[in-house]
Amino acid sequence: MGFQPIKFYQTGTYTVGNRLLSPDQRSVQAAESRSNSINSGHRACQGCGEALGARYAIDAAMAESHNRLIAVNATGCLEVFSTPYPESSWQVPWIHSVFGNAPAVATGIAAAMKVKGKTDVRVVAQGGDGGTTDIGFGCLSGMFERNDDVLYICYDNQAYMNTGVQRSSATPPAARTATTMPVGPEPGNPFGQGKNLPEIAMAHGIPYVATATVADLRDLEYKVRRAMRMRGARYIHLFVPCPLGWGTASHDTIRIARLAKESGLFPVFEAEHGEVRSVLKIRRKVRVEEYLMPQKRFAHLFGSHPHPEMVIRIQEIADRNIRKYGLLDEEEAA
């Protein structure tokens, strides 16, 4: 009888692969033939979420574009640890721009390909949250506004990590960084500041905006492949925990990303032309403490001089996300 049509009951869609699935249903990462766009020997820290996220995303983009892909990289961890010039881990055509202009460089490459008639060659630009939400923001907004044919992927680890963990506009409230120290009556990064870039991208009305985490490979691959099937400006915001900057154990990277999604602090959704089309529901809801406590950057919220009132405010952020995006099934929300 061989394969049954699946719903597969042993592992669900949560594992990377599954021997019971027919080959066309398997993930890119399960294949021995995956492109390994970023190769072994890179200098990322143990358990780096960004290295993992970049391979997940670019491998999927490679598969969808039949390996006709050029990747542009803003300055940041990903560039530094992968390419101490002239050595590189990249196994795709890859160009390093400066910190702030990756979207503009990508726009130029896309235009060049168009002029040369190579419309099958696709362009991906990528950067960290610093290069995206702060320094590259002007170029990115322009790229969105012109609807240039580029998929921009932001690897969000919520601070400037390779320069020594300084705050960015993606750093969450209360988090300790080198520039938001845990001192004073409201320690860590202030509440009420920073940017929500997925929503800013949506406000440009571009064809596709999505968020994803390294904890759900299948969702991430689906979104990259879907984005690659579209033309015009597309944006994927990928949540990648940083063991060094967040003070988490290297083996916890995926768990932390999962807890961010399950607590509601990082809503996972996709939007087209400014309109949310689907959300990834919370499967096993957790309180924000479960997400915060394993991270040393939030250690000052707990311990001998705790700040429960700040934890409550963080929980309110999660609850607001849950309401806003409908992250819980009806009966659970009731």
């Binding site: 869609t13 143990q46 010039y85 002239p86």
Partner: protein, 539 residues
């Protein structure tokens, strides 16, 4: 080549940078012992055969199952499945229905006529087995598969032992039992029925070893003064007589004395024979009752009544005298001096069974304790070459335990015949719930087996519990979490940020590339089934 300012590396790939040197801990693949396998009295590799069932390869699953136990269709009906009690999935939603999948495989084997693989060439050795119950048949099966000549001598008129004469048909249809017994005999095992062994020393002549598995067929007695006209029978003979042509006459009101599974079997049998009232009288409470809870529940559904905290003191024609009991601090029943009368056409005593040890008379160096034969760890009695198992040795008395004894004895007998000692494999460490990452298992509740409707359960001996069909058996098999054993989900291969896991292809699992593995531990943390362990590097 003159390098530009501040450039130290050569052009090339990062593969020249062996990041494995960063590592302080290394991941290693291992197989851990699934709790189901650990709990199985017959030593089945449950996780192993479920793995094959998951891909729909039922024949391979069945073949793996019968490596350890030749009775899957019987087990799938009568085993009390301690495996399911220990199943890690029980801590997540509900245990995998191992027993129901086992029955499905057993029934499928009978339906499709699957045969055991041919035994190897004869070893020239001969083994006598006394008793054709689950233990004796299991030993015969394993010895035959090792190439030894086997003869079973059975006192009764049919093979099966307590599977036939103790377990009612509504739990184990006889065609199922017959099919699984026949498959064992087809291996060339010789079965001599109606041949009681009176003296084992004499009967052993001409054999290289013997395995005793005569069971426990003598009903335990309790002193209950009974009038001449009182109708008192024992449970063993009653259940035994159910195999004959004539159905026993019990009357309309049947009282069963005892609290074990046999008492339940008798009461449910009495209902089916037409008793309007089948009442179990037990000295203690439901919590203290040795019978399994689901059997008690099924009996109550069929209208069996249970009188708790009561002891029978006297039996007269049509009437019993019952004394109320209370439990003391130790949970033991104590008399209260309060008596009452109960009507009863028949009183059935189900107070446990003893072993008939007369065949052992005159055998030197045997040790008998509490009415059972003492055996050492290799199942051998004090007399060299004489082994024993099943209900006649000290252990829990169940079909599954007996089948396990048969297998264990067969291995030791085989070693004994070769003049060697059998060394069991050392057990892997246990894959307990804490070793799993259950996020990766999707939610899927247990499949409930269909039950016969209640009217037919009270009036016929049709089988009460139905089986699974092919699609829900597959569903149930796929609920297995494969605790402690890699099922090739590709998680380690996927989650490694350093591409340091090498996928070896279907069925070949994975290996680590320690040149690049930084030892972050993500693979071990995200392995759903706990088949990766982090061990410190020697530094």
């Amino acid at each position: 080549m003159i390098k530009p300012f501040a450039i130290t590396l050569k052009p090339g790939t990062s593969l020249s940078n062996l990041t494995g040197t960063w590592r302080t801990e290394r991941p290693v693949y291992l197989d851990r012992l699934p709790p189901c396998n650990n709990a199985c009295p017959a030593g089945e590799n449950i996780q192993g055969w479920l793995y094959h069932a998951e891909s729909g390869d039922y024949e391979q699953a069945w073949r793996m199952l019968v490596e350890e136990n030749p009775f899957p269709a019987v087990m799938g009906r009568v085993c009390y499945h301690p495996c399911e009690d220990q199943c890690n999935r029980g801590k997540l939603d509900s245990p995998v229905g191992i027993n129901s999948v086992e029955r499905f495989l057993g029934d499928e084997a009978i339906r499709r006529g699957w045969k055991f693989s041919e035994p190897p060439d004869s070893s020239g050795k001969k083994v006598l087995i006394v008793g054709a119950g689950p233990s004796g048949l299991s030993a015969a099966y394993h010895l035959a598969r090792m190439g030894h000549g086997v003869e079973i001598q059975e006192a009764g008129p049919m093979a099966g032992g307590m599977m036939r004469f103790g377990i009612p048909k509504y739990r184990l249809p006889r065609d199922v039992l017959d099919a699984e017994v026949k498959r064992i005999l087809d291996l060339g095992v010789r079965l001599r029925l109606n041949s009681r062994v009176e003296n084992i020393s004499a009967s052993m002549q001409g054999f290289d070893a013997a395995f005793l598995a005569v069971g426990a067929h003598i009903a335990k007695r309790a002193f209950i003064p009974a009038g001449d006209a009182a109708h008192v029978v024992d449970a063993v003979s009653l259940l035994h007589s159910m195999e004959g042509e004539e159905r026993p006459m019990l009357g309309r009101r049947v009282v069963v004395y005892g609290g074990g599974n046999t008492a339940i079997d008798v009461a449910r049998t009495a209902r089916r024979l037409g008793a309007t009232d089948a009442i179990i009288v037990y000295r203690r409470t439901r919590e203290k009752m040795p019978a399994h809870d689901f059997e008690v529940e099924e009996a109550l559904q069929e209208g069996v009544m249970i009188k708790w905290l009561s002891a029978i003191r006297q039996a007269d024609e049509g009437q019993l005298t019952v004394e109320k009991m209370v439990l003391d601090d130790k949970g033991m029943p104590q008399p209260t001096g309060e008596f009452e009368k109960m009507e009863a056409d028949t009183l059935v005593l189900a107070l446990g069974q003893d072993v008939d040890l007369t065949l052992l008379e005159g055998v030197p160096n045997l040790e008998i304790r509490n009415g059972t034969v003492q055996v050492s760890g290799n199942m051998m009695t004090g007399f060299p070459g004489l082994f024993a198992g099943g209900d006649m040795v000290m252990s829990e008395r169940s079909v599954t335990v007996a089948a396990g004894h048969g297998k264990k004895a067969a291995r030791h007998i085989d070693a004994y015949l070769r003049g060697a000692a059998y060394e069991p494999h050392s057990k892997h460490e246990l894959a307990d719930f804490g070793k799993l990452n259950t996020w990766y298992y999707s939610d899927a509740d247990k499949t409930v087996r269909p039950m016969l409707d209640i009217i037919r359960r009270q009036t016929s001996f049709d089988e009460v519990q139905g089986g699974l069909n092919e699609s829900n058996a597959l569903f149930e098999a796929r609920r297995c979490m494969s605790c402690g054993n890699c099922f090739e989900c590709d998680n380690c291969y996927g989650v490694c940020p350093d591409n340091a896991v090498i996928k070896l292809g279907p069925g070949k699992r994975f290996k680590f590339n320690y040149d690049y593995c930084k030892g972050c531990g993500l693979c071990a943390a995200e392995c759903p089934c706990g088949a990766i362990k982090m061990v410190p590097e020697e530094i």
